[in-house]
Symmetry: C2
Subunit: 169 residues, 2 copies
């Protein structure tokens, strides 16, 4: 099981970026996201997507970060541009254990670098936590996320031109 | 050469998402991004990143989309959740030709599906154009983007704990 922990979410500034982080978590094989700041709008958005497109993705906002990290028995990975090389870091992770992936917004509290079992970088150039999470989960699942089945009311069928959508009642 | 064309950018709503799209373009091996709407703030942000972190990335905002597409001699790929399967689509692209990748924000004009040589999906679940671009460029470059050299004033050295940064004058 893969859980994402989004740290430092600010409702006004980050609403779209954090929504993208949560959607990527869902689409790339995570089962749950915690967001530190309470944000019912993002909860509604994600639950509405899951209602239409299926799956069992859980979103929980307004959590006690310190308690979650204290109680956590998963392997903890913190994605940061300062971290260890992606390929090297990912090889060290025990795939049999559950995984918690921490995604910061801008600066993160320094203690997170210590709490994490692995600080991993998705390249060392500045880019995007949305992209970093996607690439990390893609590598971690060896691309298997793309075959996940969601059994939603809406299913999109791949097509080179136009749109093919199946809508079930 | 890889160029990105960002369509449907709205300054107030999309500023952070489009900034992430541009940063991903730069970090994952594209050389240029066109953004349809004029946005000097995003230009300044990206040029400031390139000034510090190096490379020759170009950002041009406020362009004539129809003219650019009409004059374009590159292979045109449009990333969309309705498109053809990623692996299948990417195999069809002639890697010897230059590439233009179109990234929409929300709905895109229907003619883009026709103009594109390939409409490619990065999974068929809703997620993020930032993630879609990163995964597409990762697959297209076979992961080679991570070894690109930027020769910037600031260089970050991968490290499992803490931060190691080289700053050159």
């Amino acid at each position: 099981m893969i859980t994402i922990l989004r740290i430092g979410h600010r409702i006004s500034r980050d609403k779209r970026i954090t929504t993208h982080v949560a959607l990527v978590a869902r689409a790339f094989g995570a089962e749950k996201i915690y967001i530190d700041q309470k944000d019912t709008k993002i909860e509604e958005n994600l639950n509405s997507i899951s209602d239409k497109f299926g799956g069992n993705f859980q979103i929980i906002t307004g959590i006690d970060r310190k308690k979650i990290l204290k109680d956590c028995e998963d392997t903890i990975v913190h994605l940061t541009m300062y971290g260890e090389n992606l390929e090297k870091g990912i090889k060290k992770i025990d795939k049999k254990r559950n995984l918690l992936v921490i995604i910061g917004a801008e600066k993160v509290p320094p203690e997170l670098y210590q709490i994490a079992d692995f600080n991993i970088s998705v390249g060392n150039q500045p880019h995007s936590e949305v992209a970093a999470l996607a690439i990390f989960l893609d590598r971690y699942t060896k691309g298997a996320w793309i075959n996940n089945k969601y059994n939603g009311k809406i299913e999109i069928i791949p097509k080179n031109r136009g749109k093919k959508v199946i809508i079930k009642d």
